[in-house]
């Protein structure tokens, strides 16, 4: 696999897997309006994943976006582990989404400056969508944090539980450094400061405590995941795997 291909898969997979999780909310939202909002965000992420996987397929030359989404195994997926975490209750989903949105907004802003024109174009289009996503998730962090005693307790616990998955956002391995050198990729490490400002500011307004940056989960850059990803894939990939000769 080419370096650029793997670099793009890392971005695409996060969008794809988180989109899958959000789509699980369909018909289960706390209100009809929220049901629609979560499906909308899921659709945006799916669109981003699709563009990135199509580009990846072009570089690869032999695989389509669908092959990449539906015919790769667990160890060949590179999404951040935070994306595969379960939806839990609405607060768990919002905490996960807020942390992801605030990172991806910064990430895509930098990626839009990439020397790779296609990546830059996809990033530019995505920024518009992510701005809305972040507004949606931040507003809910405020409502739940500064809503009732129950909601405050719930969302605080959600942040405490999910926090250990945020370390992966800022990791840089050899491949990332190489892409950065080529002016294609982003320096994730440098995004941390700005991310801290966004996150701290919102949590403060929501009257919530920011969890300590303690032990952090890691591994997704090498295709190491929590047990949850395998279950997502077995559901997501079931039809194309069961009927390999069929076209849909």
């Amino acid at each position: 696999m080419q370096d650029l291909e793997k670099y793009i898969l890392r971005i695409a997979d996060s969008s794809l897997i988180l989109s899958h999780r959000l789509s699980e909310w369909c018909s289960k939202g706390p209100s009809l309006e929220e049901d629609i909002a979560l499906s909308n965000i899921s659709l945006d992420l799916l669109g981003q994943a699709n563009s990135l996987l199509e580009y990846c397929g072009k570089i690869n030359g032999t695989k389509t976006a669908d092959d990449l989404a539906f015919k790769r195994g667990e160890r060949e997926f590179f999404n951040f582990q935070i994306c595969e975490q379960e939806n839990g209750h609405f607060g768990d989903t919002i905490a996960r989404q807020f942390l992801f949105d605030s990172f991806t907004l910064l990430f895509f802003k930098k990626l839009s400056e990439s020397k790779d024109e296609i990546l830059s174009a996809i990033a530019l289009k995505s920024i518009k969508e992510i701005n809305y996503h972040l507004r949606h998730s931040s507003n809910w962090v405020l409502r739940l944090g500064d809503g009732t005693a129950t909601s405050k307790e719930k969302i605080q616990n959600s942040f405490n539980k999910i926090w250990k998955y945020t370390g992966e956002f800022f990791e840089m391995d050899q491949l990332d450094l190489k892409m950065l050198d080529l002016k294609i990729g982003v320096n994730n490490n440098q995004l941390k400061k700005e991310w801290d400002i966004i996150v701290n500011d919102t949590l403060k307004k929501a009257k919530l405590n920011r969890p300590e940056d303690g032990f952090m989960m890691t591994g997704s850059k090498n295709g190491i995941h929590t047990e949850l990803l395998g279950k997502i894939l077995s559901e997501m990939q079931y039809i194309p795997r069961a009927y390999p000769d069929a076209k849909w």
Partner: protein, 323 residues
């Protein structure tokens, strides 16, 4: 004194008669009735029942299709299905809003649904067992809904009519995407073709039951036609749907599961077999394969979301207070 009450009652009676006459004249002249216009109680309650049943159908209908979103077999199929189910939620919203203009809240409508006092379309009490069911629902269920809704675009109540115009545009896209899935599968591998035929076999009869009981057994049709809420009878709409759909099935090589289906030259329509009304009433009365599951799912989401709605309300109150 007695005379006074008599005369007041008579005046009231005359006034109501006059109002009803003006109302009916407006309807006969094809003018829309708007929320603030006078309307007979029966008209209002008929509309609340019909529109809320329609809204609940959109919302409960999200479940059988939502069942396949996470298993859609391609990125394109997943996007289309997700967008479609999201549209249904949007239709639910328009319809609940139209219903609210008649003086009933969304919470009350929800309560009626949960208590089993309000119905939704029985078709959603059937399970979706394969990907081909996403095709069958789009093609047949949305196809049947369109036949009904196209005629409802001309319904006499303004907000309902305008909602229907908007909804119809999206539904016709849904119908096409469903037919596309079916056409694709019917021309695919042997297994795909079998799945497509099986889906048609399971959804055909429930789809034609969607138009409701035969006109001879439909007690509410009379007033609904007079008030132009309903523009065509159940049987007319059902026939219209069958006539439209048979050719579509033939075109993709699928067989409608009705041995009595035959073109009637004289009527210019298809004759079709006897509908199993016992099954229809069984499902309407709660004994379909998924009745309990669908309602429980909706109740569970509602209950689990309560703390979220409470938090949003509390937060909004604090913001107003701080202003």
């Amino acid at each position: 004194m007695k005379n006074d009450i008599f005369s007041i009652n008579l005046q009231k009676h005359n006034y109501l008669n006059m109002q009803e006459e003006i109302f009916q004249d407006k309807i006969n002249a094809e003018k829309k009735i708007e929320p603030k216009d006078w309307m007979p109680d029966g008209y209002r309650s008929h509309l609340i029942r019909q529109i809320s049943q329609h809204a609940h159908s959109e919302i409960i209908g999200m479940q059988p299709e939502g069942n396949w979103i996470t298993r859609a077999p391609s990125l394109r199929a997943k996007m289309i299905l997700l967008a479609k189910v999201q549209d249904e939620a949007g239709h639910g919203l328009y319809l609940y809003s139209a219903c609210e203009t008649l003086g009933v809240t969304r919470d009350e409508l929800n309560k009626q649904l949960h208590e089993g006092k309000a119905k939704y379309s029985s078709i959603f009490n059937y399970p979706t067992l394969s990907w081909a069911d996403m095709g069958a629902i789009g093609w047949l269920v949305d196809g049947a809904a369109i036949v009904n809704q196209v005629s409802l675009q001309k319904t006499s109540y303004g907000p309902y009519s305008r909602g229907m115009i908007k909804i119809c545009k999206e539904e016709s896209f849904h119908q096409r995407q469903g037919y596309e899935i079916m056409a694709h599968m019917a021309n695919g591998t042997k297994e795909q073709k079998e799945m497509a035929q099986d889906a048609l076999n399971r959804f055909w009869w429930p789809s034609i039951m969607m138009f409701g009981p035969q006109d001879s057994d439909s007690p509410r049709t009379g007033n609904a036609m007079k008030w132009k809420i309903k523009r065509k009878t159940n049987d007319e709409l059902r026939q219209n749907f069958i006539d439209k759909t048979v050719a579509q099935a033939e075109l993709i090589g699928l067989k409608i599961p009705d041995p009595d289906l035959k073109w009637n030259e004289e009527r210019g329509s298809y004759d079709f077999g006897e509908i199993d009304w016992e099954e229809f009433w069984n499902v309407v009365n709660g004994n379909g394969p998924c009745n309990e599951q669908r309602l429980e799912h909706h109740k569970k989401a509602h209950t689990e979301g309560e703390w979220v709605r409470e938090a949003a309300k509390a937060y909004a109150k604090k913001q107003t207070h701080n202003e």
